[in-house]
């Protein structure tokens, strides 16, 4: 589950939080007992996943907002964001290998 290659394109991720503040594209979110400061990229991902989104659709959404990642793959970028936010309780995986 923690390995990026195990997170499939059609895996659905969903975000949730108890309270949040936004300033200048960044977000501070309280999820359960954890407070996490999100970069503009992570904030966009969290907002996009509010009602559930597949990894591939999330990647497209991030490309729309920030452009193609330099020297990287948009899908991998989306996976990295998801895998960083799952341990913080901000995102959950609804279907994955």
């Amino acid at each position: 589950m923690s390995d990026a290659y195990r997170l499939r394109d059609d895996a659905v991720v969903r975000s949730s939080w108890d309270d949040a503040l936004e300033r200048g594209g960044e977000m501070l979110v309280l999820a359960g007992n954890d407070v996490t400061l999100l970069s503009p990229l992570a904030a966009e991902a969290v907002l996009a996943a509010r009602h559930g989104i597949t990894v591939v659709a999330l990647a497209e959404r991030l490309v729309c907002a920030f452009g193609e990642p330099e020297g990287g793959d948009a899908g991998d970028m989306a996976r990295e964001v998801v895998l960083a936010l799952v341990p913080r309780g901000v995102m959950t995986l609804e279907s994955a290998e």
């Binding site: 589950m1 923690s2 108890d18 309270d19 949040a20 503040l21 300033r23 200048g24 960044e26 977000m27 501070l28 309280l30 359960g32 007992n33 954890d34 407070v35 996490t36 400061l37 895998l83 799952v86 341990p87 309780g89």
Partner: protein, 465 residues
């Protein structure tokens, strides 16, 4: 970190099969907590295995070890670790470093909350932790990050299986005994009604940010404890009134009497110094629980100007707050060295508790009353929060402290880690943001020695004006 105060603290002991170490850990930790009167309504200890077969009995050697140390092996059946168990757990105590890493790999939500029992015992050494038990995983994780703590015990080789199993049992039992001492003092209080505080020479009342705590001293050393407690808590003493909550402490030489007292939920120790050491976090935690949701309670030292303006120096436990309070308290009024309590109107409720000072070579800190340390008392009238500074002691910092204004969200991200029960505050992050903005934001100060902060004080008091 913030948490639910009305729920038990939930600990899951994890290993590979849930038939050996984790079974022994579960039963011996339960035994030591029960012996201190801490039941499952306050701390819930269960176990599971990463690769366990559900319903399997524990190994015979584990049973022997548990019984050898006075625990009960009855009614045990192995459980395989599930996602639901992970979600319902506050702290994971794992058999070995390898198993801990595997747990985190399989269940990322356990990151920052998973420790081997060896790590837990070592990280607690010398740490006078005065925060609710639910906050301990965060504190332990921060301490682990900064230190090279061995994850596993040195044990006899696998070829000597029986000898190895008994060695593991002895280590688990010893660690569980020490951990239970700390957890019993800081665990959520029982939902049972608080008995009337009563009076008597062995009892005294202290005020902790508006919460009246009755301290009942008993045992052969009860009077000595009461006298020492009154001296150490002199600035918090209340002459009369109704208590909101009580703490029972016993001091005596007879181990059997102490054991019987612990079973009644009394904090019981063989000497006054040890009792005072554990009394301080017990009072703090019980007072914090009484003010959940109504006060912003920060891990901070507080110093006040003669006009009642307060500067709070926010820092994690064990990183220099007491030294700051002791050093600056010779020049500015000592408000607290541990818990800075602020209401929505920025009024600070003082908590001039004893200061924990490491004077001797032993693992415990001595408790010194602010009077004994000649710290200035708070001025009469209202105390008002003027500034909050996130402080970080850095060995090679320049002698002139480095002060940095922090963007709101970045500052709040640090501050939130040092707020008790943030999730129970009305409007949570918004309440915290309003407080911070009302005092002109947050600054971070990197300093070398506490005395280096002294020249900054006038500008900090002016900051919010």
């Amino acid at each position: 970190m913030p948490c639910e105060s009305d729920a038990a603290f939930r600990v899951l002991i994890v290993d590979a099969t849930n038939t050996g170490r984790s079974a022994a850990g579960e039963r011996l930790l339960r035994k030591h907590l029960w012996a201190r009167g801490v039941g499952r309504d306050r701390i819930r200890i269960t176990s599971a295995g990463l690769n366990a077969d559900d319903g399997v009995a524990m190994q015979d050697l584990a049973r022997e070890v548990i019984q050898a140390h006075g625990g009960s092996a009855q009614g045990f059946a192995a459980r395989s670790l599930s996602e639901a168990m992970v979600e319902a757990t506050d702290l994971f105590v794992v058999g070995t470093g390898y198993e801990r890493d595997e747990l985190v790999r399989r269940h990322p939500r356990t990151l920052g909350r998973s420790f081997t029992m060896s790590e837990v015992a070592r990280l607690y050494e010398g740490l006078g932790l005065a925060s609710p038990l639910h906050e301990h995983p965060t504190v332990l994780e921060r301490l682990r990050t900064g230190r090279d703590v061995p994850t596993d015990w040195d044990l006899p080789p696998w070829e000597s299986l029986e000898e190895r199993a008994h060695a593991v049992g002895a280590r688990i039992n010893e660690a569980a005994d020490r951990i239970a001492d700390i957890w019993a003092a800081t665990a959520p209080t029982s939902s049972a009604p608080v008995a009337p505080p009563g009076g008597g020479e062995g009892a005294f009342l202290v005020d902790a940010f508006g919460v009246t705590v009755a301290v009942h001293c008993e045992g052969a050393g009860g009077d000595a404890l009461s006298d020492a407690g009154r001296r150490a808590w002199s600035r918090c003493l209340v002459e009369r009134g109704d208590a909101d909550v009580r703490v029972d402490v016993m001091v005596g030489p007879d181990p059997e009497v102490l054991t019987a007292a612990r079973a009644r939920g009394v904090l019981a120790y063989p000497d006054v110094d040890r009792a005072l050491h554990h009394l301080s976090p017990a009072i703090t935690v019980r007072a914090i629980e009484q003010r959940v949701g109504s006060l912003v309670m920060l891990h901070a030292a507080g110093l006040a100007s003669p006009t009642g303006d307060v500067v709070g120096f926010v820092a994690p436990s064990g990183t220099g707050k007491t030294t700051i309070a002791r050093t600056l308290g010779a020049h500015y009024a000592y408000v607290t060295d541990e818990t800075l309590a602020v209401d929505v109107g920025r009024t600070v409720l003082p908590y001039p508790k004893p200061l924990s000072v490491l004077e001797s070579a032993g693992p415990m800190k001595d408790q010194w009353g602010p009077e004994s340390l000649d710290l200035l008392p708070p001025p009469p009238g209202r105390l008002r929060l003027a500034r909050l500074a996130l402080v970080e002691r850095v060995q090679d910092a320049p002698s002139l402290p480095v002060v940095e204004e922090l963007p709101l969200l970045h500052g709040l991200a640090f501050l939130a880690e040092q707020v008790s029960y943030l999730s129970r505050l009305p409007l949570q992050l918004h309440t915290l943001a309003d407080l911070v903005e009302s005092i002109g934001g947050l600054v971070r100060i990197r300093y070398r020695e506490a005395r280096d902060l002294l020249p900054l004080m006038p500008s900090l008091f002016e900051g919010a004006r």
